[in-house]
């Protein structure tokens, strides 16, 4: 498993390199880890606000009722498309569910893999990154982020039609 090797190799490489450069590695590590405290304190209120709003919106099922009418996209994939920019864990949950129901090699399974692999959780990243430094006016950030996601999904849909 290559993916299992990446993490330990990075840590090993960083530590050995620093030892060669005669850095006080233990002290440096402690210094760096300390910085996480102020970060998480700033972060928590933003996370709470986002999770509250997103979960209320999701559990109201408004999404499913609204998007019933779009037919050129497989039905199973619609919740994923909507969830992908909002929540990483729920889109991963939807992906797992699709694998279980239709298999990872099916058309829908492959399409879901493409979408998961080529996009990221825009809302989460915006909340996290801007929240951590106290930015309130995000200007056009959300629209550009969502457009980039939409582009990735559109290209995925085109790709799947070529492959299958």
């Amino acid at each position: 498993m290559i993916s299992n090797l990446i993490l330990p190799l990075i840590v090993l490489f960083v530590v050995i390199y620093a030892m060669f450069k005669k850095v006080a590695i233990y002290d440096a590590f402690i210094d760096g880890a300390k910085e996480s405290f102020p970060m998480i304190l700033k972060l928590f209120p933003c996370l709470l606000a986002m999770i509250l709003a997103v979960n209320i919106f999701l559990k109201s099922n408004v999404i499913i009722d609204l998007f019933k009418f779009i037919s050129f996209i497989p039905n199973e994939i619609i919740p994923m498309i909507i969830m992908r920019p909002i929540s990483g864990t729920s889109s991963l949950a939807i992906l797992t569910n699709i694998y279980e129901l239709m298999g990872p090699d099916s058309m829908v399974g492959t399409l879901a893999s493409y979408i998961q692999g080529s996009t990221d959780t825009t809302f989460y990243i915006i909340t996290l990154y801007f929240g951590s430094i106290g930015i309130k006016k995000i200007r056009y950030a959300l629209w550009v982020g969502l457009l980039a996601d939409l582009l990735a999904i559109t290209i995925s849909l085109i790709f799947i039609n070529i492959v299958f």
Partner: protein
């Protein structure tokens, strides 16, 4: 941000009231505090760990070396950042971690990158151009090895778990480039 937040909450609650789903929404309001706390608890130690490792890499000069490698490209993507500014090294570390599908490792670098971009920012409560550009790089996800997807596909018995890797790379790169173009257009007209 204020409008979107309000939109989600108002639409969500109204829709539930119309559908007689008050039970669900009650649960959700109470649960979200717990979910948020769990998430913070989950992120916190990983962040501490990676910030520690990052500090070692920083003090040994490794970050600077890595960032020199890709700062040639970054220079064109972030024209507003002065040459040799420390944010380049955080941005490049974030991109490198993202490429290997290490989302957890990428986040602390991303947060540090935002911090150093904030130093260059003139209006402290407003997002700068470079910040939004950096965000586009992150949200369009420049993944080369989608580790999570591969392992999930294995778990569910895919005949060829890595078959999606190449399409993912093609899709992610084309959407990233298009996203950057859109970003530049928005930046010009705002």
């Amino acid at each position: 941000m204020n409008k979107i937040w309000g939109f989600f909450i108002v639409i969500g609650i109204l829709f539930c009231l119309l559908n007689n789903n008050v039970e669900v929404i009650n649960q959700e309001i109470l649960n979200s505090t717990k979910t948020a706390f769990d998430m913070a608890v989950k992120i916190f130690p990983v962040m501490a760990l990676w910030l520690g490792i990052a500090k070692i890499a920083e003090e040994s000069g490794l970050l600077k070396k890595l960032s020199l490698k890709i700062s040639g490209i970054l220079k064109y993507i972030f024209p507003e950042i002065p040459k040799g500014h420390e944010s380049f090294s955080y941005i490049s570390s974030n991109i490198i971690a993202n490429m290997f599908g290490l989302g957890n490792a990428a986040t602390p670098f991303g947060l540090k990158a935002m911090q150093s971009l904030q130093q260059l920012n003139l209006k402290k409560d407003t997002a700068s151009r470079s910040m939004i550009t950096f965000l586009v790089l992150n949200t369009s996800g420049v993944t080369i090895i989608p580790t999570t997807i591969i392992s999930l596909r294995m778990m569910y018995g895919s005949l060829n778990p890595t078959s999606v890797v190449l399409p993912c790379i093609i899709i992610t790169f084309s959407s990233t480039i298009l996203g950057l173009v859109i970003d530049k257009i928005f930046a010009r007209f705002s």
